[in-house]
Symmetry: C2
Subunit: 550 residues, 2 copies
């Protein structure tokens, strides 16, 4: 395998650990916990794993006699920078506990556990992947561990391999399922512990005890590098508005963090749009006004950040989508009538069938997008919101709005657009120093939780805006983060998703600045992630964390 | 102005200069030059600037008494990383010649000269922009300096400011025009010299004396960072083919360099497609075969690099586009007939009007693309080739081909695609160490050429695969790089564009490897540009240069 010069040098990096994990470790139990909501229901659903105490680690002089632990690790869901360091942290951690400990990796995600596909992760393999991006060491996958049959199949291989524990590295859903699995194995006395690790570039798995999910730091740094480069281009050529869509369906943490780093002219935050019940027209007006104001100053250029999931946060779009799903549901009379129509007549007919409000929204859409909404449907017959090119939708609608404004003299400039979508560019970047350290510490923490016999815990590393040696490592019962939510029509216990808080410090800071950033050209150019060099450049974490912890 | 932590640290970087430029400099004249072709015509067109000798610089102990020089600088055309360092190199160079030298920057490209828009570039301004990306210090523009009226307007302001020289930083066209301007000012004894600097991320301004254009190194490093990250994602998720289009209409140097750095499964080189007279169907077959072969090994993922200009290099597409331009030319009877047709009947009608070959090609195109070719036309009524989303065109056609192969059992896998286009992401990145040094040296070289009274020269810095102190600085008469080419129906003297040479070392090396890269998964992950750290990581230039100079 050829590797790049950077990868070669970066392999030598020794991730920093919290002081408490550097020698012998003592576990300290804290207070008993409760779930964030719906305590009664959650306690009933998790009789064996509810109400457990928070735990933290402290350094100790007393070296305990420890047994080898055998661990299976699973990467679940979308890639995030640092996954390989979680695994190398687990490896080093269990080897430190006992040199005869063994680590197995299940291949291709949770499916590997069910299908008994695995490899033993030896030091030769681990060393090749230290401080690298990607999940390619064992691959990832999106199989959901939800059924007892899967749990039982998993237990077979766990028994065969003599596993003490499984570590599941995933987002909120995967960690919810990890907890259900922990509860099931505890209930049947399977003798297999389950520990979760908080992963997602989206940044929406966080709470009081989990300050950030890993990968968010690196991914937002990559996107901010590119946004900064594009801003510099915009400010040099002075002829385009760049509409940049950023990956992330649920929350706008990525957009907010990138905005704090780069200071673009426009940043849409889905949570704000939902809270203010903004219409698509209002969002477009907001953007068009900023474009027009800048044009008044002779600046016919700018940069706008758009969260991928925006459409689903606009109340009237949600309603429209629901109505379209009903109207065109497979096998209905209306769907048959729709299909009989000539293509050129369909959109008009659809508009006539919708409620007055939805009809108005539908008629406002550029015809290509309107057609897409009626044609591109998923296997369940639903509108495929993820296929909508939100950045182009907004670009076209802003153009239309500016044309109207031009006619009445409210816009005198030019409006040319370039579109971008950043997602895959950042999910597998080599982890920043922060993510390299954080992930390694999470993995190491997981190994200690296992050695201490814990199950149903998520590895937790806090105080992350301080230097790594001051970080506080420990574990949080997953049930503590849960509440009951409706999923596919049924109430289910799930980890509460962390959306952007409109009264949180990061958003409030952003709001205090966005006016200046819109009118002025206050672009900041963060440049690429640096791995060697001054600590001010290499070791900073996110603006979001700094503001949250300030 | 807020600046990022990296920008703050990077401002301290002192670009490296060739040894010959570090103290007092002696100019050494080399051999008289001839143009690469059409010597007679070029000599006649450039009586004052043809046949001048190559010049190079040497260190000397004899400090010459030098006069202040006043210089105007112009950034022309698309952005390229390092433009600000050319300007700071000129600034430091002329200040070194005499502290009373002055530098003026014309605003918004060549238009600034004609319209007399300029600023004086003082050390305060220069210091803010050292080692930064972008052209925002004075802006760039695409006005072409081609007419004597423009030259005369330029001379007015040059006289007002007491300029000894203009430095034009641009690509092949801008440098051609710089030479025409040099010739004109020499002819009328205007007393204003003109010096060019070789800029373009496309890498197509190079020859024996100009080893590389600035910006190519940095831009290809940024694109390779992103390609590497996407490759790692592809190899982790194992479910998508990523089709990545790379900026650059004329030459495929960018794609070739990125391929050498990252080893993707497929890289299309426009020059090869043209040389082999490949059809669109053949290109699609080539890609589909690689997809099918990888699927046979269970690998339903991969990465393909596609040069932006590909379509125009496919002979049958060129013919098709010409026929469409004739058929639908404004005001023709056929255009009127076309416009009277119902939209749904237009493509069929167009196919019927074309030659048999073109009709076949047109019918092969996905209908959306076919429609785009007939509808989206520029102000001259021509097909807008640049609007064609080549990556999607190929993706859809490969899909269709694979569906056919599936029916006869030649393809048994899955084919899902993600599309990307990288261009603006890299044009304004902060320059790599190589580009920071190279650009600064080019600017410094320009100042010496000016002080030595030269005009019609391009700054040249060679031996660039050695350490910077070993670089050879000097000047090359622009006429040496010229030949006669047809432009808008007339023969004109222009700098010969450097396309990828199919018998050159970089392409031959690529060909020797691409089979392995297609079948295997030999991805290399270069990671982001590093500015601090080991020289193996920070100071390497392009694979193209290394292979060319080996």
């Amino acid at each position: 395998m050829s590797i790049s010069a950077l990868q070669k040098e970066r392999a030598k990096y020794q991730p920093k650990l919290p002081k408490s994990l550097r020698g012998d470790v003592k576990l300290v139990e804290g207070e008993k916990t409760e779930s964030v909501a719906d305590q009664k229901e959650i306690a009933e659903l998790f009789p064996n794993t509810y109400g457990m105490p928070l735990v933290s680690f402290e350094a100790t002089d007393t070296a305990a006699e420890r047994q080898p632990v055998n661990v299976g690790v699973i990467l679940s869901g979308g890639q995030a920078p640092g996954g390989h360091n979680v695994i190398s942290g687990i490896f080093d951690g269990i080897k430190n506990i006992h040199t005869e400990s063994k680590l197995y990796g299940f291949l291709g995600g949770p499916g590997g556990l069910v299908d008994h596909k695995y490899i033993e992760l030896t030091s030769d393999i681990i060393d090749e992947y230290r401080n690298t991006g990607g999940f390619d060491i064992i691959g990832s996958g999106r199989t959901k561990l939800e059924e007892e049959a899967q749990f039982d199949k998993g237990l077979e291989i766990a028994k065969d391999l003599g596993l003490n524990a499984l570590v599941i590295i995933g987002g909120d859903d995967s960690n919810t399922n990890a907890c259900v699995l922990a509860e099931y194995y505890a209930e049947i006395n399977a003798g297999v512990q389950v520990i979760g690790c908080p992963k997602t570039i989206d940044g929406d798995l966080k709470n009081e005890m989990i300050e950030t999910s890993f990968g968010f730091d690196t991914a937002t740094k990559v996107y901010s590098e590119l946004i900064g480069n594009i801003q510099r281009d915009a400010n040099s050529a002075k002829k385009y508005w760049h509409f940049i869509k950023l990956m992330g369906r649920s929350a706008s943490h990525i957009g907010l963090e990138c905005a704090l780093k780069t200071q673009p002219n426009i940043t849409l935050i889905s949570e704000e749009v939902a809270e203010k019940k903004q219409t698509l027209g209002e969002v477009v007006d907001y953007m068009a006004c900023i474009v027009a104001n800048r044009a008044n100053d002779g600046n016919n250029f700018g940069v706008a950040l758009i969260p991928e999931g925006l459409i689903e946060f606009i109340p009237e779009m949600k309603v429209l989508i629901t109505e379209l799903n009903d109207l065109l549901a497979e096998g209905t009379d209306t769907e048959k009538e729709f299909k009989m129509l000539k293509k050129s007549h369909r959109n008009e007919w659809v508009a006539g069938q919708l409620s007055e409000t939805s009809s108005g929204v539908f008629s406002l859409l550029p015809s290509g997008i309107a057609t897409q909404l009626t044609l591109d449907r998923d296997p369940h017959g639903n509108v495929q919101v993820s296929l909508i090119e939100t950045e182009k939708l907004l670009g076209e609608m802003v153009k239309t709005r500016l044309d109207e404004m031009k006619e009445v003299g409210e816009f005198t400039g030019k409006f040319g657009t370039q579109y971008h979508f950043f997602g895959y560019e950042g999910r597998c970047a080599a982890p920043s120093n922060f993510d390299a350290d954080y992930c390694y510490s999470l993995g190491y923490t997981a190994s200690v939780l296992i050695s201490e016999g814990k199950t149903g815990y998520m590895a937790s590393v806090r105080n992350t805006t301080s230097a790594a040696d001051q970080w506080i490592a420990g574990g949080v019962p997953v049930t503590m983060m849960m509440n009951m939510e409706k999923r596919h029509g049924h109430m289910k216990p799930v980890i509460q998703k962390a959306l952007v808080e409109l009264d949180g410090a990061p958003f409030k800071f952003f709001v205090s600045k966005r006016g200046e950033w819109a009118t002025g050209t206050e672009f900041v150019y963060p440049g690429p992630i640096q791995y060697f060099g001054p600590t001010e450049v290499c070791d900073q974490t996110t603006e979001t964390l700094k503001l949250e912890q300030a």
